[in-house]
């Protein structure tokens, strides 16, 4: 089955990931800009990071037949350094012209602080000004409800088009207001925090799969890109058809990411042929 991994931090992973993902059906990954595990001191470090994910990483993925796309942004943690953030944001538009840059992300809240909100608003404004897609990070643990609500408030106040915004890391207690407001949402599968494969399938069976994407967000912490395949296996164990799985794990990300005007992997419709036809 062909799979799109819509949130994957390739620079934190080895080539073995690419090899095994390719062997298990992954045809494309999208890499948001994120926190490096430490707070960077210089805007230039971000610029080289953006060059890495928009120029070099596609070549590494291509060795395994995987398409690589990316997003650029200042993440919420480093928004606590407004001077650095502003300097980086000023350079972001030059990356919007690159063929694999899909938009601005991941941006949003970590602890829902005033600095985070100011930099979040700045980046939403830049994205809207340059007609870019927006990818939102929502807080991981006890701050998730508050951060998600504030995210929705800010996006509404700024007049962002919900159909061009993906709010990621939703769980049972945050998915409803995001979907009801018309946004695309993502569920991130992590071994301990965020969602698990079985819970993600539960949620999709409750709400339907429209405007929902599933990702592994594999990074430098405890994470595993193959939680995506585990989730597909859970769907199949519950009797999902191949087409229903394709809709969730390939076609939904293809439809949303295509709104960038750059992601060109089309949705798939499976045509089942009879035994006689297959022998043809």
């Amino acid at each position: 089955m062909q799979i799109i991994q819509p949130h994957y931090h390739a620079i934190a992973r080895t080539a073995q990931d690419y090899e095994r993902m390719a062997m298990s059906g992954v045809v494309a990954v999208a890499e948001p800009a994120f926190w490096a595990g430490f707070d960077r001191a210089y805007p230039e470090t971000f610029i080289d990071y953006f060059r890495q994910i928009s120029e070099f990483e596609p070549t590494r993925a291509a060795e395994y037949g995987i398409r690589h796309f990316c997003w650029v942004a200042v993440n919420p943690k480093e928004a606590e350094n407004p001077g650095l953030s502003e300097a980086v944001i000023a350079r972001m538009p030059e990356f919007f012209a690159k063929p694999t840059v899909l938009g601005v992300g991941e941006i949003g809240f970590h602890k829902t602080t005033p600095n985070e909100e100011a930099i979040f608003r700045r980046q939403v404004a830049v994205a809207m000004e340059h007609d870019q897609l927006i990818l939102i990070h929502t807080p991981h643990l006890q701050d998730k409800v508050r951060g998600t609500q504030r995210t929705l408030d800010v996006l509404r106040e700024m007049g962002a088009d919900p159909d061009r915004v993906w709010i990621d890391h939703v769980e049972e207690h945050t998915i409803r207001p995001c979907l009801d407001a018309g946004y695309w949402v993502g569920m991130t599968l992590y071994p301990i925090t965020k969602c698990t494969p079985k819970r993600a399938v539960d949620i999709v069976e409750m709400y339907g799969s429209e405007r929902i994407m599933i990702n592994s967000s594999a990074d430098w912490g405890p994470s595993d890109p193959f939680t995506l395949q585990a989730c597909i296996m859970e769907c199949r164990r519950r009797g999902w058809s191949t087409q229903r799985c394709v809709e969730l794990f390939h076609n939904n990300p293809a439809r949303f990411l295509a709104k960038s005007g750059k992601f060109d992997i089309a949705p798939i419709e499976i045509v089942e042929q009879g035994v006689g036809a297959s022998r043809g």
């Binding site: 643990l141 006890q142 701050d143 998730k144 409800v145 508050r146 769980e171 049972e172 207690h173 409803r176 819970r199 539960d202 409750m206 709400y207 164990r237 519950r238 009797g239």
Partner: protein, 90 residues
């Protein structure tokens, strides 16, 4: 058997849930042993709050009536959402 039938779900999930419950039990045993050996002085207000939330979560799961779902799309019960809210700060 329909893979979404109650019997199929029980058959498929029994060992996983059994494992998770035993892990929880063993963790609490480990905690009690540590308190017996070292005392509870290191358990400050933040940690006491975390422990209290864990105990509330277990009570919630053991309650005869599950928390009702706020949305009809979610079915009759919403234990996972209730636990996530229990572990939220707001």
């Amino acid at each position: 058997m329909d893979p979404r039938s109650p019997a199929a779900i029980l058959d498929r999930e029994f060992l996983d849930v059994r494992c998770m419950l035993i892990e929880t039990a063993a963790t609490l045993d480990r905690l009690d042993l540590a308190i017996a050996e070292h005392g509870a002085d290191g358990i400050d207000a933040v940690r006491r709050d975390r422990l209290a939330r864990l105990r509330q979560a277990m009570s919630l799961l053991a309650a005869p009536e599950p928390p009702a779902a706020a949305d009809p799309r979610c079915g009759p019960a919403a234990r996972a959402e209730a636990l996530l809210r229990l572990f939220s700060d707001d």
